[in-house]
């Protein structure tokens, strides 16, 4: 019955506005509609889903082991040779297998760095933007100082101190990545703070925390989601650079950056050791960037009608 009522109600509204009116949608439905209309963004999303499924379900797509299964009679096989789809590395390990398991590490690093830096950055940005005054001045000055570091250099210095491991990579990259989220959040909060519904919420006597997290935060999510998407790709690229320098994940781990750095000794003999993990990184980051671009267009109010 209630469904019928809703349909009738909708028809009535449509009649009133006229047939040329767009269907009544809310903000998020609009975003999804605009996103799915963007062909490249959808391709990016599909690529990302495929990559996640392949890496998360790694044991389903290969029968080899990424670390322990070394076979010294099958060193540096070319792709396709001896039943290894993408060949073998310098220790006779199956590259396809290492690629799948390595993708897990890269994705976990990218997502963990983004989650940590977003949580820290957004919290600081909310507090700075909402409270203003001295709190804001101090927090934003510190943020600006953190932003004035060349960030990979600082990550390299942190890794030199902490020593190589995936956990430290996540920590080092999160330390250098949060200020962007802070800048963005604060900018959004400053705009939203002026709006009347926030005023009425404080007049109604809501606690500051509730206003910040329930009333302001949901309305600055758009740009933050875009930044988060791009940040995942950026973190994967930076983690690969650190691993290549021997400052990233543990050298035995299946990790795309580590694989690249092993391959550099065999550029002449077995270039596929280098090209394959690089292509994997590029495709992953590319799909994240395409999704991010699609989201940017979908969230951009100028594109809305």
């Amino acid at each position: 019955m209630s469904d019928n009522n809703k349909v009738n109600e909708k028809d009535r509204v449509m009649d009133e506005i006229g047939l040329e009116a767009l269907p009544v949608t809310n903000y998020w439905q609009d975003v999804i509609r605009l996103f799915t209309k963007n062909r490249i963004a959808v391709i990016g999303l599909i690529m990302m889903i495929i990559i996640v499924v392949l890496c998360a379900g790694a044991p389903l797509f290969t029968s080899h082991d990424p670390i322990t299964e070394m076979n010294f009679s099958e060193l540096l096989f070319r792709p396709g040779q001896g039943g290894h789809i993408l060949g073998t590395d310098d220790l006779g390990r199956d590259i396809w297998t290492r690629l799948l398991y390595g993708g897990r590490n890269s994705l976990v690093t990218g997502i963990a760095v983004t989650l940590i830096s977003a949580a820290v950055g957004i919290a600081i940005g909310l507090v700075a933007g909402y409270f203003g005054g001295t709190v804001e001045a101090l927090l934003m000055r510190f943020t600006d100082i953190m932003l004035s570091f060349p960030f990979l250099i600082i990550a390299i210095a942190i890794m030199a101190v902490l020593g190589p491991s995936q956990r430290n990579v996540i920590l080092a990259l999160a330390i250098v990545s949060w200020p962007r989220f802070t800048r963005l959040t604060r900018g959004q909060v400053l705009q939203i703070k002026q709006l009347e519904y926030i005023e009425s919420a404080s007049v109604a006597g809501f606690k500051k925390g509730r206003i910040m997290f329930n009333h302001i935060l949901p309305n600055c999510l758009g740009p933050l989601i875009i930044q988060a998407t791009l940040s995942v790709g950026g973190a994967i690229l930076s983690a690969a650079s650190l691993s290549y320098l021997g400052l990233g994940a543990d050298a035995a781990a299946p990790d795309w950056g580590v694989m690249l750095s092993q391959g550099r000794n065999y550029l002449q003999l077995a270039p596929h050791l280098t090209t394959i993990p690089g292509i994997a990184i590029s495709l992953t980051v590319l799909s994240m960037n395409w999704i991010g671009d699609g989201l940017r267009d979908a969230f951009d109010p100028k594109m809305r009608k």
Partner: protein, 319 residues
């Protein structure tokens, strides 16, 4: 204008102090015994007397804050301490290698501009054409590739397969003329320029599109000016203003990239020195390089802010 420049320089000082403090305390907290590194005897036993002598000699017996202030005052006079490994002054070994890094970064920046300017402008002028979508696609792909991997792919194809270029840089300046330098620098510079060219192409394109929709451009067109003078005389100048700030941010990325690129191509700059120092745990050198890179980055951004204020009077007159 001068007050603006002075204010920006004064603003940079607290930033510099915080940066140097963070770098110093980071390396102070590092696990590991500097005495063992200095004496180069990790396995043998060091007697307490020997330890005390070395500690005093290197100033390691003083409290943390005293050491930090010593570091700052010495750094201000161009003394960044002494390397644990080579026992040479850190400042002079950085300065020996700094010009090579500048030459590489400068070439990369030039290359990035040579690619992004024509590509970005053409894409904006031919909005929604094939060239436009091609430029946009290339720009997205460009930021998605790992820069150092692109460098490795260049080595595999241009050096190892085609034998066109040497795999490692044998010269890093113009001492043997332009051509040998060009052959040595083109691969590392391309690998370093990739991300910057991509970001700038996007930036130039969108900024040019913005400007072309402005009233004054429409007015210039309606006056009957030639399309060429509308674009190069009126639109381009204003379109490039936002692009200047992007260059500042990109320089930071380039420094990080230089560390990796230099070690791939054996380019004898400070990036490679940093990697070598990290593997030898030569903390004074790591500390010095990090500080020099941060200062260079700040100077570049200071210059860019000044240029920005100079070309766009709204900024310096605003505050």
């Amino acid at each position: 204008m001068w007050t603006y420049i002075l204010r920006r320089i004064l603003q940079a000082i607290p930033t510099l102090l915080v940066i140097s403090f963070l770098i110093f305390s980071l390396l102070y907290l590092t696990p590991g015994d500097p005495i063992e590194l200095i004496m180069g005897t990790e396995d043998e036993q060091i007697s307490p007397e020997q330890r005390a002598i070395v500690e005093r000699e290197w100033g390691l017996d003083k409290p943390f804050l005293v050491r930090y202030f010593n570091f700052i005052f010495n750094a201000a006079r161009g003394d960044l301490g002494t390397s644990y490994v080579t026992s040479k002054p850190v400042f002079s070994s950085i300065m020996e290698r700094y010009p090579a890094t500048l030459r590489l970064a400068g070439s990369a920046m030039l290359l990035a501009l040579l690619i992004s300017l024509p590509l970005g402008i053409t894409a904006a002028l031919k909005h929604n054409s094939i060239i436009d979508s091609l430029a946009t696609a290339l720009a997205t792909i460009g930021v998605s590739l790992p820069k150092f991997w692109f460098g490795l792919v260049l080595i595999i194809t241009l050096s190892l397969k085609l034998h066109w270029l040497p795999t490692t840089a044998t010269v890093n300046d113009m001492s043997q003329g332009f051509w040998p330098f060009f052959k040595a620098v083109i691969m590392p510079a391309s690998s370093l320029a990739l991300g910057m060219a991509a970001t700038q192409t996007r930036m130039i394109r969108s900024s040019m599109l913005d400007v072309l929709n402005q009233d004054y451009v429409r007015y210039a067109r309606s006056k009957g000016l030639k399309e060429r003078s509308v674009i190069y005389g009126h639109a381009l100048k204003n379109a490039l203003i936002p692009v200047i700030t992007v260059i500042g941010g990109e320089v930071g990325g380039m420094m990080g990239g230089a560390v990796v690129t230099e070690s791939i191509f054996s380019w004898p700059g400070i990036g490679r020195l940093a990697v070598n120092s990290i593997s030898k745990r030569d903390y004074p050198t790591i500390q010095g390089i990090t500080l020099v890179m941060c200062i260079s980055y700040m100077i570049v951004n200071l210059l860019i802010d000044i240029i920005y204020a100079w070309v766009d009077p709204r900024i310096r007159l605003d505050k």
